[in-house]
Symmetry: C2
Subunit: 417 residues, 2 copies
């Protein structure tokens, strides 16, 4: 027997129902971003490995699909979009009015142990504002992320945005005598604090001349600790979405490149997963492209959000409806008289040119079998072409009602149903 | 100075205008396929290299982005979709009613010399019918490909479908005493005939016991040579699209895996390029997945069609309109009184929730500068929020007319414009 081929571990086949679910997520991403005036862009799936090393350090190669290409270039399948965005924005920064409001929907690759909610391949929505240092840009992204969640069908009962401010922590560190490389080490301690035994954290802090109590008091100060967060919350309240947001200074987001407010969307009740995250990164465009450009952005992957949608009734109902619609047709033409094949073909052409999704049998079949196929196709109507032609029968497959019409009146009759 | 990063040769950045053009092509592909009742699927971008070698032979690796992954698997960035489709269809063939009518829009990779119309990365529309051996399936795909071209804005003056039949050639070879491996060698001679010096062709044919005259007579017999082509043409004529089709037996399409009718779309007048191509391949699902399943399909890449659209006035006008629409907004909110920032933010939220694409300034700017930004954003309307609030002014940016309204009447007033 022939060797059977398998999908690579951590990669996915999208059969039609899964592809329709994916497209539903893409459409919400795209629709909400467009409402906020963002424009879509895309970069290459393969980039020089050095691009990712510049942002994340040499050890990033351990989780990359990287290889030498046939021209001896060290290349990588992209693990994220932000370095590409920084390269593109810097390369043509004179061609665009600032701020840039750009979004992208694309596929990414990381060689990791695959598990629920994490594959070696995933789609990600990236949404960034470049060339604007006002905190209103941060607020705009948070508002957009809230509206994304609402467009999926989630409510206040399902999710929160947690916001924090890396600058507030840097200020805190400086006030308390931590300096230079110590600040980065300190932020890493805070980032891992919730998942680290208390004694260990206390020891790490002591080495920096700090105490757990000091840290806890600072976290408890909440929004008081940051003017930027105060301005962001005021703006989100004016938009009427302040109740979706919580200040939580315990979040610092591990990535070293953030330089200001950071935020993440997390689900409440279903497992407190992070659904999306982002923040301000004012140094990256300079680092990658040699051009000073303030920037903030966030990303949402497709896997966690799709799991969450499927576990939550209202969003799942929207998804299921989109999946049905993505696979159904409007009309199934039943050929009751094989002698009318040409007439049925002409009718199908007319309907399709009018934008009506139409199926025809491609091989002879008994009429009951054709009606069965019509039902299974999800069609709203069967149009029966038989010996009475040019009289044709429209059967409404929902309520079984029938009317008759002629070819020239068919589209109108269907639209009137 | 920092090292500047470059896009890899043969790869593309899609800045917003290029991305909107790409999306226009995707939308036409998707819309027309859905009208024909096709459903969308997608496979992985990375597959085992052996999958492509099974279909095309070991030497295919010379044009693949292939590498050993961190788990020592020989993997390749996909150069085409058909082997994946055959794998997927075979794996779950019991779950789907035949025939499958599946389409896909995805990205592909080939390590080739890049030139106009050919990159190392490209998008491709794949459209296949599986599990149906009737020639009506072949005709359905040809009709769909014609409607694709018409949906792009092309007319009878711009393109033709050339159809041929590999079986007719195999029959011809057999009738003339060519057998076994000779048939494959013979088909390769015919495939390259137009691009090979006549003397050389004559020599190759002589080695098979054939003459140029015999071949030319056969090509001249046209549709008479194939019952399948006769049936396909009859069906396409019944659909009213027969005039887009020419029988041209000189086409055999090089790929060894075709087993019946083959066709290609080519442009007339602009350079006779092949825009798309396909045909019947009844053996591949067996070869890849061990399951007998008749199949036919075709593929269209994004690069040649986009070049052709840009060179042809009517299709280019449709593309340009889509590019403008993909980057413009409906409303730009002008903040004429900085004290009304919160009111403007609330108004933006209201408009966006109603699906209206809305921009707001993210930083203080003088009113004329805001109007300039509104013009450049492509907005249809500026909504001016100033000291008169709750009275707001709607300025129509096309004809400069103005009306005033209040926040609760804003959406209705905009929709009435």
């Amino acid at each position: 027997m022939a060797q059977r081929f398998q999908t690579l571990p951590g990669f996915r086949d999208f059969f039609p129902d899964e592809c329709a679910a994916r497209n539903h997520v893409f459409e919400i991403w795209r629709k909400v971003a467009r409402r906020y005036g963002f424009v879509e862009y895309e970069g290459p799936i393969l980039e020089p490995t050095a691009l990712y090393q510049r942002k994340s350090g040499a050890e990033i190669v351990n989780q990359l699909f990287c290889f030498p290409d046939k021209g001896e270039r060290d290349v990588s399948m992209r693990p994220e979009l932000t370095p590409t965005l920084a390269r593109m924005a810097a390369a043509r920064q004179r061609d665009f009015r600032k701020p840039l409001r750009w979004f992208s929907i694309g596929q990414f690759f990381r060689y990791e142990k695959h598990q629920k909610g994490r594959g070696r391949e995933f789609y990600q929505f990236n949404c960034d504002i470049l060339g604007e240092d006002s905190v209103l840009a941060d607020a705009e992204l948070i508002a957009l992320s809230i509206d994304l969640m609402r467009a999926f069908g989630f409510t206040e009962a399902d999710f929160r945005i947690r916001v924090s401010d890396r600058n507030a922590w840097v200020d805190f560190a400086t006030r308390n005598g931590v300096e230079g490389d110590g600040v980065t080490a300190f932020l890493q301690v805070i980032d891992k604090m919730e998942r680290t035994p208390e004694e260990k954290v206390a020891g790490q802090l002591a080495a920096l001349g700090l105490t757990l109590e000091l840290i806890r008091d600072f976290i408890a100060s909440g929004v008081e600790a940051s003017e930027a967060l105060q301005a962001i919350l005021a703006d989100l309240s004016a938009r009427g979405v302040g109740h979706f947001v919580e200040v939580d200074l315990s979040i610092v987001r591990g990535l070293a490149y953030y330089t200001g407010p950071v935020f993440e969307i997390f689900d409440i009740g279903k497992g407190m997963r992070a659904v999306a995250g982002g923040g301000r990164y004012d140094q990256l465009v300079q680092l990658i492209g040699g051009v000073e450009m303030a920037a903030c952005g966030f990303a949402m992957g497709d896997m966690v959000i799709t799991d969450l949608i499927r576990e939550t009734p209202a969003p799942n109902a929207l998804l299921e409806a989109a999946v049905r619609d993505g696979q159904s047709v409007d009309v199934y033409i039943v050929l009751a008289d094989p002698g009318k094949q040409a007439e049925a073909a002409a009718l199908a052409q007319t309907l399709r040119l009018a934008g009506i999704r139409t199926l025809t049998p491609l091989a002879p079949a008994k009429v009951p079998k054709q009606f069965q196929a019509a039902e299974q196709s999800g069609a709203s109507f069967a149009v029966v072409v038989g010996s009475e032609y040019p009289e044709v029968t429209i059967r409404n497959l929902r309520d079984r009602s029938e009317i008759t019409t002629r070819p020239e009146g068919l589209i109108e009759a269907l639209q009137g149903q």
